[in-house]
Structures are given as structure tokens and as C-alpha cells.
């Protein structure tokens, strides 16, 4: 054992490896990405790990290995579970042999996601047990339990960290020892083949099994009742789980208060016996949880089932927030009111100067900016609709580019565009898709377009990486997660095989890029442009732009039209001491990569690319 600083995601990876995982798969997605990256980094040779092409593939690869007795781990973010739900719903009926844990990271807020869906609700829907850790330390220990329960009940189990846990770090006493198992191997048996008759029997077995698991969970070590009922005779209790448990403890410390707490680490199947014991001790319960009122509904249900008169306060009674994430502040306020405590407020300071708004933006030098700018320039004054997708390039929706009119889910931009072009036949409809998204779920959409003779311009923004999640490999890169070389799949060649010959252009060559868009827009049917240039986090900067102060007329065109974070007028300091000086554009040399887009569009030729 050694004490190390581990990120919640790292703790899950270390814990899974210690528990003897030999096959790990997943698709990148914030906040889950670092789990598989950690496994790839620290694994022994006998552990296989892959970035699958999407979550469905990841789950199926892992299920196959579990059929043969291997302990397997699958990782994804919450919306990834939607993609993997087809195999998962059936796998719940079929079951597994080797322990299989599906880690689905939820994102209350949401901080980096399309939805605030709650995987605990998905657990009930799919009838699968779920583990909901409250801290990185707990996640480290709990992931091993999850494997054990999976094998005990021959079922895949869900494991659900949230962003604040996944991206929190803690000093954890982690072992370097690994459980060694001898998987039995795949044994042929009709039970691996799903058929209606088998499904009926499996469903029946699940309905009988789950109450037993709930009973088992009532004595599970991380489901606890703790704290004291208040001294003044009021029988108040708190029910909580996940990171909200940590907020609850912190809030009670701030308030100097104590309270009986039911902590739920396995929201489904619900540990009813334990919860019933808690309900016996209290008259009123405040439920503190994020997203869906899962614990809240279970308690209300249990009160009805057991004919108990306990008041359950929470989202349903609007005592807590129904969307967004909890924080120590929200929980402290709710608890102060619930426990009737004095909440000391901090004195307001002098009111601050108005703060600049700083939304996320495409990086300085990002090739996506150049691609969007080329399409924008080419389509200026013409009727066009721009269908976007999931990735860094979703940020192309922001001003001043304003080039993303729709964004729904992975791969949807391509197929949405087809519906839009049927409804708006006089508009040129563009679908932007990144390289990783193209492989994940874009290709089938392109096939649909070709087969059904749709009218659209597909624009593949190929920056040679899965960028938004921090630079993961994909089938087009030529390297696996285990760093093995593999022939890269070539996007233009794939499109050509589909019957579309794409124009392949470097988006940083502005003239050529605009020309390609103009040509494609003038044609009909399915056309494609592949803008190829590596992400700034992959390619080394080529230099830095510089401004000729004599030539710059401070027209602001570059700042206004490109929205590049490296460009500003006078670095914002005009108002202090240089008011008499001539205004000019400033390049932030800590950010500029020398992409040269501003130099190509400057009307006075004041900006030059200076190579390093």
C-alpha cells in the first residue's frame, strides 16, 4: 500500500485493477475519460484496454469477455449510456459470468453535457444494481465491492460517480497488488442467446432477485445510519447519497449541528430494511440528492408500503432544488432552515467592478475557427443552415462565428441536416462533424444521406484527435489506447467508398477553403469537404503573429470577426495611460500559435506571420 494523490477517476481505475479487471473498454466523455486513461497508463501486460468506437461497442466488447469469465470494466458519461442502452437492456436479462461494472459518470449542473439525466433512474429502468460513491476514497473501495456483487448475482452492475467526485483528488492508500483470477473461458450454452421465451424467464428471475439484492444491500458497509437525532426532542433526519453526503457533513460542521443521517450508497435495489429502521426513528426527513428525487421517491414509497407517517421533504415539496448541482452553500442553507439553525452571513464587501464574461472559446489557432470562417464567408448573404454536432466545434455557435444552428447529440448533426434540407429545399444545409464523432456515430448518417438521395454539404472537421475530452485516439489516428500502431482509417477514402468524392482542404489556407465551400454549395446531392489540420494541442505552434503598428488602422475586423482569444484591441488598457497613443490590435504572444488566419483577412496587411 502507498498513499498517493488520486483523482476520483484514477481511484476507480486503481480499484478496478486491484480487483482483477483484465478487460477495460469505453468511449471518452467528460467527466469519465480519465478512468480508462489511468488504466492504460498503469496496467500490467495482461490487462487489455481500448477506446472503443462508441459506447455501444465498448459495452458489447466487455460483455463478450465477461461471458468468458473475465472481470470487465466499461466507462462512459451519462449520455453515452443512451448509446449503450440497447445492449445493456438485453444484457440485464442475459447476465454475465465474470464481474462486469459499467461506470457511468453523471454530470449535475450540467458542467460539460447535453442533459442532466440521472443514471440511478436508469438503474431502476434497466433493473440493474447501482453503486453511488460519496468520495474518491469510497469509490476506490466500492469498485471492488461492485465486482463482487456482480459475480455474486451474475449481473452487470452500474457504478455512478458524478463530476465533483470524478474530478476531485484525494490522498488514497492504494495497493499495487492485483487479484489474479483464472477465467473459466467461454462455455457454450443456450443461456447466451436471447429469445422471447428465455427473456420471460429471465425477467421473472430478475423480479425475484432484486428484492433479495435490496435486502443484501441493507447490510452493505457503505449504506449507513449515523449522527444523532437532535437533543430538543424533534425527530428530524436527513437522507442523502453521493457527493451530497459530503456536502451534508460539511454543512453540519459549518452550522455546528448534528442530525440523524441515512446515507444511501446503493439507490437501486433500495435497501428497504435499513431505510425502514431509519424511518422508525424520525418524523420528518429532508432528502439531499442531485438530479432525480430517487431516494426521496423510495422513502415515500416505503412509507406507503409500511404505513408509516413520516413527512418526506425534498424536490417534490420544493425544499430542495430540482435541477442543477448541489453545493455546500445550497445544502447549508437548506439544512439551516430544516434544523432551525442560525446561518451567519458574510459581510458584503465593496461591490466589485463589472467582471468580464469569459465563456469557453475555441483556442487561439484552432483550425475549426478557420473552417467555420471559410464557410461563413462563402455563404455570406445566401440562405444556409448550419447543423452542428458534439465536440470542441460546438463552440462555433458562439459570437462572432455563430456557425452552429443546431446541436442535439453525437452524430445527429448529419441526419438532422437531411430533415432540414427536405423541409427547407431552397437553403444550402451544412452538417459539421468532427473526426472522432464521424467514427462514433456519423458514418451511418452519411450512408442514410447517400441511400435516400438527400441534399447536403457534409463538412468533416478533421483535427486528428478527440479534442474536447483532452486528446484521445480514435480509428483515424493510427494508434490504439495501448499505444500500438494500427493502419489509420482514412476519412476521405471512406467517403469515396460511400460514393462521395470529398474536397480535402487545409482550412488555414483561407482562399482555398472558401473556394471549396463555394464549389460544394453550387452542386447538389450529398457533397463533402474534409478540412484537415491538427488540433493546437497536437501540432506544435508554427510561430506567432505580429502587428505592424504603422499599418494597423484598428478597424477591429480581426477581433470582431474571428473571436480569437489571442487578439484584442490595445490589450484592454486604452483607458489608463495610452489614450493619446494610436489604437492598434494586440496579439497575446502567450496564446498565438501563428496559424495566420488573421494575417490573411487583415484589410491593410498589418498582421504578419512570424515563424519561430
Amino acid at each position: 500500500m502507498s498513499i498517493r494523490l488520486l483523482m476520483g477517476n484514477g481511484a476507480i481505475a486503481e480499484g478496478a485493477l486491484a480487483a482483477g479487471v483484465t478487460v477495460a473498454t469505453g468511449y471518452p466523455g467528460t467527466p469519465s475519460t480519465e478512468i480508462l486513461e489511468t488504466i492504460a497508463k498503469i496496467r500490467d501486460k495482461n490487462v487489455y484496454v481500448e477506446w472503443s468506437v462508441n459506447e455501444k461497442a465498448a459495452l458489447e466488447v466487455a460483455a463478450g469477455a465477461s461471458y468468458a469469465g473475465h472481470r470487465t470494466l466499461v466507462t462512459m458519461k451519462q449520455v453515452g449510456l443512451n448509446v449503450a442502452s440497447d445492449p445493456l437492456m438485453s444484457l440485464a436479462y442475459i447476465g454475465v459470468k465474470g464481474g462486469m461494472v459499467v461506470v457511468v459518470a453523471d454530470d449535475p449542473g450540467p458542467i460539460s453535457s447535453q442533459t442532466e439525466q440521472d443514471t440511478r433512474t436508469f438503474a431502476r429502468y434497466s433493473k440493474l444494481p447501482i453503486f453511488d460513491p460519496a468520495s474518491p476514497e469510497e469509490a476506490y473501495a466500492m469498485i471492488r465491492d461492485a465486482f463482487d456483487y456482480s459475480e455474486k448475482y451474475s449481473t452487470p452492475v452500474l457504478f455512478r460517480p458524478t463530476t465533483r467526485l470524478s474530478h476531485a483528488n484525494a490522498a488514497i492508500d492504494a495497493t499495487d497488488e492485483r487479484d489474479v483470477r483464472q477465467p473459466e473461458g467461454f462455455v457454450k450454452d443456450p443461456k447466451w442467446v436471447i429469445f422471447p421465451r428465455l427473456s420471460y424467464a429471465a425477467h421473472k428471475a430478475i423480479e425475484e432477485r432484486n428484492p433479495a439484492i435490496g435486502e443484501d444491500f441493507s447490510s452493505y458497509r457503505f449504506n449507513t445510519i449515523e449522527g444523532n437525532t437532535s437533543a430538543n426532542g424533534t425527530r428530524l433526519g436527513i437522507a442523502t447519497g453521493g457527493v451530497s453526503y459530503a456536502y451534508t457533513r460539511e454543512a453540519l460542521q459549518i452550522l455546528g449541528a448534528d442530525c440523524r443521517i441515512l446515507k444511501i450508497a446503493t439507490p437501486y435495489p433500495f435497501p428497504e430494511t435499513l431505510a425502514a429502521r431509519f424511518l422508525n426513528e424520525v418524523d420528518t426527513v429532508l432528502v439531499l440528492e442531485e438530479l432525480d428525487p430517487v431516494i426521496e421517491r423510495e422513502l415515500i414509497y416505503l412509507c406507503g408500503k409500511l404505513d408509516k407517517s413520516v413527512k418526506i421533504l425534498g424536490k417534490g415539496t420544493r425544499h430542495t432544488i430540482t435541477s442543477g448541482e448541489n453545493s455546500v452553500e445550497t445544502v447549508t442553507e437548506q439544512l439551516a432552515s430544516f434544523l432551525n439553525c442560525q446561518l451567519s452571513t458574510v459581510n458584503c464587501q465593496l461591490s466589485p467592478p463589472s467582471l468580464p464574461i469569459r465563456p469557453p472559446v475555441l483556442c487561439a489557432g484552432c483550425p475549426h475557427r478557420a473552417s467555420f470562417y471559410a464557410v461563413k464567408k462563402a455563404m455570406h448573404g445566401k440562405k444556409a443552415i448550419f447543423s452542428g454536432d458534439i465536440g470542441c466545434y460546438t463552440l462555433g455557435n458562439a459570437q462572432p462565428l455563430d456557425m452552429v444552428d443546431t446541436c442535439l447529440c453525437m452524430g445527429a448533426g448529419i441526419t438532422l441536416a437531411q430533415g432540414l434540407s427536405r423541409a427547407e429545399p431552397d437553403a444550402t444545409v451544412f452538417a459539421f462533424v468532427g473526426d472522432s464523432t464521424f467514427f462514433a456515430s456519423g458514418m451511418t448518417g452519411v450512408v442514410n444521406a447517400v441511400y435516400n438521395k438527400h441534399d447536403m454539404v457534409l463538412v468533416v472537421l478533421d483535427n486528428r484527435i478527440t479534442a474536447m475530452t483532452g486528446g484521445q485516439t480514435h480509428p483515424g489516428i493510427g494508434k490504439t489506447l495501448m499505444n500500438e500502431p494500427v493502419p489509420p482509417l482514412n476519412i476521405p477514402a471512406i467517403l469515396t467508398a460511400f460514393g462521395i468524392t470529398p474536397r480535402v482542404v487545409n482550412p488555414l489556407d483561407h482562399k482555398a477553403a472558401v473556394a471549396a465551400v463555394n464549389e460544394a454549395a453550387a452542386e447538389s446531392g450529398v457533397r463533402a469537404i474534409v478540412f484537415e489540420y491538427p488540433c493546437v494541442n497536437v501540432a506544435k505552434p508554427t510561430g506567432c503573429a505580429s502587428v505592424d503598428a504603422d499599418k494597423c488602422i484598428a478597424c477591429g475586423k480581426c477581433v470582431r470577426e474571428l473571436g480569437c482569444p489571442a487578439l484584442s484591441i490595445d490589450n484592454g488598457q486604452l483607458t489608463i495611460d495610452n489614450q493619446d497613443e494610436k489604437r492598434r490590435v494586440t496579439i497575446d504572444k502567450s496564446l498565438c500559435t501563428g496559424c495566420g488566419l488573421c494575417a490573411q483577412m487583415c484589410p491593410t496587411g498589418a498582421i504578419a506571420e512570424v515563424s519561430e
Binding site: 498513499i3 476531485a168 484525494a170 457527493v243 468580464p356 469557453p360 482569444p565 484584442s568 490589450n571
Partner: protein, 186 residues
């Protein structure tokens, strides 16, 4: 001890918080940190929370509970002031990073910081550029300045040890002049 690091995505707050956590680990102290990862990392406002010592449950520092605020950018320091304890310490880089939504004047932020705190320590990123030939080691220079106040709980040599543990030998070596900057300018 609660330390909040506030900056703009890409400035290296994550590495800085990792180094502080490593220092705490080296001293056998309990430590929790939390990071902004994901979409906001792309040039948006980011914060890292570092909580050292037992008794911290939440990975995030509650409002008005930070002993020290390390601002990598003037407006981001002001944005996070509500996290600072009364009489908490502010270390701040004076160099503004202009948002694409419109330029602002960093001097307004710095003079505000001067009025609301007695102890603000200002770090000039141009010094870092002069010494290291790049703005990148600003994160290390800010940690050096925090250590130089004597109130961080870690010394420059603690930080140096953490850098050698967490960074490649080449990177650690290149960043050492930034770490020593605050002491050198004293």
C-alpha cells in the same frame, strides 16, 4: 488550509494544485483537490480547490473559507473573491487575459483588490517572460510568490521537491527560475 486557484483555461491551474497536493502528501497531511475539466477548460474561467488537513468533506471550498486565493488573472481573482476568508491572502498575476467577449481594464481589478485586501501580493508575468522566455511558468511563479509570503505552509524547496516528483526532469528544471522569482525580487 484552503487554497483556491482561479484562472483561465490553459494557464496551468491543474498542475499548480497538483503540486500543492504533492507538498501536503510529502508532509503526511490529508489533502483533497477539485478541478475544472471539460468544456470550460477551453479559455473559460477555471478554478482549482485545494483543501489541506483533516475535516474537509466537500471537495469544493465553501464560500468565505479560503485562506489563500491565487489569481492567475486579475478579473478571475476578483470573480473568486467571495471564496476568500476575511483577512485571507491574495496572490495575483497583474497581466490580464482578454476575453473574446470584449476587452477590459486589468488595472480596475487590481485597484479593487488593493482596496478590499491589505495583503495582496502582485506577480508580474512580464518578469516570468523575461526570466523564462515564456509566460507558461506563471503558475510556478505564483506558487513561489505564495511560498514567499511564509503563509502557504510550504517552502520553495518543498515546492521544488513536488515539481521533481510530478513533472519531467526537463520541465522541472526549466520551471525552477520561475519558482525562485519571488524570493529573488524580494
Amino acid at each position: 488550509m484552503n487554497i483556491l486557484l482561479a484562472g483561465v483555461g490553459g494557464q496551468g491551474t491543474v498542475l499548480a494544485s497538483k503540486l500543492l497536493a504533492q507538498c501536503a502528501l510529502d508532509k503526511g497531511e490529508a489533502v483533497h483537490t477539485a478541478e475544472t475539466i471539460g468544456m470550460a477548460q477551453r479559455g473559460g474561467s477555471v478554478v482549482s480547490h485545494v483543501r489541506i488537513g483533516a475535516g474537509a468533506f466537500s471537495p469544493l471550498i465553501p464560500k468565505a473559507a479560503a485562506d489563500m486565493l491565487i489569481g492567475f488573472e486579475p478579473s478571475e481573482a476578483v470573480r473568486c473573491l467571495p471564496y476568500l476568508k476575511p483577512n485571507g491572502i491574495v496572490i495575483v498575476s497583474t497581466r490580464g487575459i482578454m476575453p473574446t467577449t470584449g476587452a477590459y481594464n486589468p488595472a480596475d481589478m487590481l485597484s479593487y483588490l488593493k482596496t478590499v485586501t491589505d495583503s495582496a501580493v502582485f506577480v508580474d508575468a512580464e518578469d516570468v517572460y523575461r526570466v523564462c522566455g515564456s509566460y507558461r511558468p506563471l503558475n510556478i511563479a505564483l506558487l513561489g510568490a505564495a511560498a514567499a509570503t511564509g503563509k502557504l505552509g510550504f517552502t520553495v524547496s518543498d515546492l521544488e521537491r513536488a515539481m521533481r516528483a510530478q513533472m519531467s526532469a526537463k520541465n522541472a528544471e526549466a520551471n525552477l527560475p520561475a519558482l525562485a522569482l519571488a524570493e529573488a525580487l524580494k
